[in-house]
């Protein structure tokens, strides 16, 4: 009971039930498999971003570059595919670039000692810039084929199963296990929670922090590869704003900007909440001019619910301890 209550994702679960519940009463088609597969298929790549972001947030940093990096990697996929490079090779290259940029972020933040906010903001300017130079403003087109359709989730690999879905699930389990079950995971939380103490206990803090950024870079790359397939073209402004979405998802999912807190499952559910909101707006036929207000409201609701859960928890815990004595 105690453990469950202290779990940071309790809030987002409640929120999910709340929003979903209301929706399923107001919109008839909402609670259909079809609809769920729909809005989920549109959110896998954001989930990947959010997961990467969660890792960075846990380590006590923030990565504003992932949106741009995603776009950049999508661009790489498109460009290399156009040059007739084989799919696996293309993917490897994209991942390498993602990892590289992540590493660069990490170095800027740790070795150079820039504020993470600025370093990653600048990095996103770089990534976008490179994409603009490549595209000269004109989207990269004509690289699509059946494989990329599948990669983008436009065509299923088996029945309803799509590549993005599988990727998201695999990465989720991988990262989840990493955080919970491995040394590195513990060290991530440790670095985010008390950097000095971690350094004193002989852990290479710099390495851990850099790796955190590398992971988010790789996640961004994965999401970029999927995006390339899903979007079927790569316009220069592809990545705009996704980083903020990812941060929002991660925070709704119980991560903290102060570091040392966060759950992979939370990030996923956080993104589901956001995707669901848009889906409901579209289904309800809310005039698009009201969308932003709607989304803002949901964000507020999200944090308020989280807060409510925490206060509830403390109350219950207090009572239980009172009973004991």
């Amino acid at each position: 009971m105690k453990k469950f209550l202290s779990d940071p994702i309790l809030g987002v679960i409640i929120l999910l039930l709340l929003v979903g519940g209301v929706a399923s009463f107001t919109v008839d088609v909402f609670f259909t498999l079809q609809n769920f597969t729909n809005f989920l298929s549109g959110s896998y790549f954001v989930m990947l971003l959010a997961m990467g972001m969660t890792v960075v947030l846990i380590s006590g940093g923030i990565d504003l570059s992932i949106g741009a990096v995603m776009a950049l990697c999508a661009g790489i996929v498109a460009k290399l595919a156009l040059q007739g490079m084989s799919v696996p090779l293309v993917i490897v290259c994209a991942l390498a670039v993602g990892a590289f940029v992540g590493c660069l972020n990490g170095l800027l933040v740790t070795v150079v000692g820039l504020p993470d906010f600025i370093a990653t903001l600048a990095m996103s300017a770089f990534a976008t810039g490179i994409l603009f130079i490549w595209t000269k403003g004109t989207p990269i087109v004509g690289y699509m084929d059946e494989t990329y359709k599948q990669i983008g989730g436009l065509a299923p690999i088996y029945r309803g199963v799509t590549v993005p879905m599988v990727t998201a699930i695999v990465i989720a389990f991988a990262l989840g296990a990493m955080l919970k079950k491995t040394k590195f995971g513990v060290h991530l939380f440790s670095v985010g929670s008390n950097r000095l103490a971690t350094r004193q206990s002989g852990i290479n803090v710099t390495k851990i922090r850099i790796l955190a950024y590398v992971i988010s870079g790789v996640c961004a790359a994965l999401s970029g590869i999927i995006m390339a397939g899903r979007n079927t073209t790569v316009p220069p402004d592809l990545g705009g704003g996704y980083e903020v979405l990812a941060i929002a998802a991660a925070l709704i999912g119980g991560a903290s900007l102060m570091g040392g807190r966060g759950r992979i499952l939370g990030a996923i559910l956080g993104e589901v909440v956001l995707a669901m909101t848009i889906n409901i707006i579209n289904l309800l036929g809310v005039p698009s001019s009201y969308q932003k207000i709607f989304i803002g409201g949901i964000l507020l609701l999200a944090v308020l619910v989280n807060q409510f859960v925490i206060s509830l928890r403390t109350k219950i815990l207090m009572r239980s301890t009172n009973k004991k004595s």
């Binding site: 933040v109 820039l114 600048a122 810039g129 999200a302 944090v303």
Partner: protein
């Protein structure tokens, strides 16, 4: 020797290094593109609203929080001002309404954050969407243009001794903020809170109220920025102000306002904002192709901050009397607890 010490002391003052760098690039651009000086009036006039936002952002950051809503709130304030003005309200009143809109959103942010103790980043992200959305609705519902008010346009296009009015207005506001931060009790409390919220709380500072105050201030500044923006544009568009928040925060940080809280000043933020704005202007005049713009500005941002940090470190090390400090591991920027 004496001078040397003076030098190191002064560069250790937040904002001084970046100000030096600013002067340097101004000279540089003037040298490369002789017409640079002719354009200063224009681009700074365009920059004024962003500068006000930068200072607002700085206040909140010094207090140890962050406010993402300033951009869209600024846009909404501009919209409200335009709307009320166009629908025939007295100029002074609609200006007040514009500022009030900003103040209200600041209050809302502060209230949500302090009352429910929820994360400032996401709370202000929410109000970012709400205020942005409201502007869209407003722009759909009515025309946000065609206000005929001499006085209003003179806020920006008027001038004393050849200097645009908006400079005086913004200058006065920023000066006031500088004074408030460095000389008043509230300012001191903001710094204390930013340095260590818990300790400030124990030391008898009502942290909730002080935090609330910082958000109200940044909101109000966003309101003023909105009014000036409206006056400059003479018409308001949906999406106005979207994205300014990042420019503003970046400006503040480049100026040496620490995201960890407790360090910075209005003047420093101003220097940072001017640095970024001037850089963009210079690059445009030089004729850097837009596709290279992202890369160059990103690079400049990094260089600016590194420069600021390193020279400040040197300055502080040299002008320190107590050696024990150096035994402690250097505290990196962006260290949240």
């Amino acid at each position: 020797m004496k001078f040397k010490n003076f030098f190191f002391r002064s560069v250790s003052i937040t904002g001084i290094p970046i100000f030096g760098l600013l002067i340097f690039i101004v000279a540089l651009f003037q040298f490369i593109v002789p017409i640079f000086n002719a354009t200063v009036g224009d681009y700074i006039t365009n920059l004024v609203p962003v500068l006000l936002l930068t200072v607002g952002a700085a206040i909140v950051i010094i207090g140890g929080s962050i406010d993402l809503s300033i951009g869209t709130v600024c846009g909404l304030s501009a919209g409200i001002t335009m709307w009320t003005l166009a629908s025939g309200l007295p100029t002074a009143l609609s200006i007040l309404l514009g500022i009030a809109t900003g103040a209200f959103f600041g209050l809302l942010n502060g209230f949500i954050i302090t009352k429910f103790g929820i994360n400032d980043f996401i709370a202000t992200l929410a109000t970012l969407n709400i205020s942005g959305g409201l502007l869209i609705v407003l722009s759909q519902a009515t025309d946000l243009y065609g206000a005929e008010s001499e006085f209003f346009t003179s806020l920006v296009y008027g001038s004393f001794f050849g200097i645009p009015t908006s400079f005086f207005i913004a200058g006065a506001i920023i000066l006031l903020m500088q004074f408030l931060l460095l000389k008043t009790i509230l300012g001191r409390r903001i710094f204390a809170m930013g340095n260590s919220g818990a300790a400030a709380n124990v030391a008898g500072i009502n942290v909730r109220n002080v935090k609330l105050a910082t958000f109200v201030l940044s909101g109000t500044l966003a309101g003023c920025a909105g009014v000036l923006l409206a006056a400059r544009l003479g018409g308001v568009q949906a999406f106005l102000g979207l994205g300014y928040e990042f420019t503003a925060i970046a400006g503040a940080v480049v100026g040496g306002v620490s995201l960890a809280g407790g360090r910075g000043s209005a003047a420093a933020a101003l220097a940072g904002g001017l640095f970024i704005g001037t850089l963009a202007q210079g690059l445009q005049l030089i004729g850097v192709e837009p596709i290279f713009f992202g890369i160059v500005s990103g690079l400049a941002l990094i260089i600016g901050v590194i420069f600021d940090q390193k020279i400040q470190d040197i300055g502080q090390l040299r002008s320190r009397f107590d050696s024990r400090v150096l035994a402690q591991p250097p505290r990196k920027e962006g260290d949240h607890g």
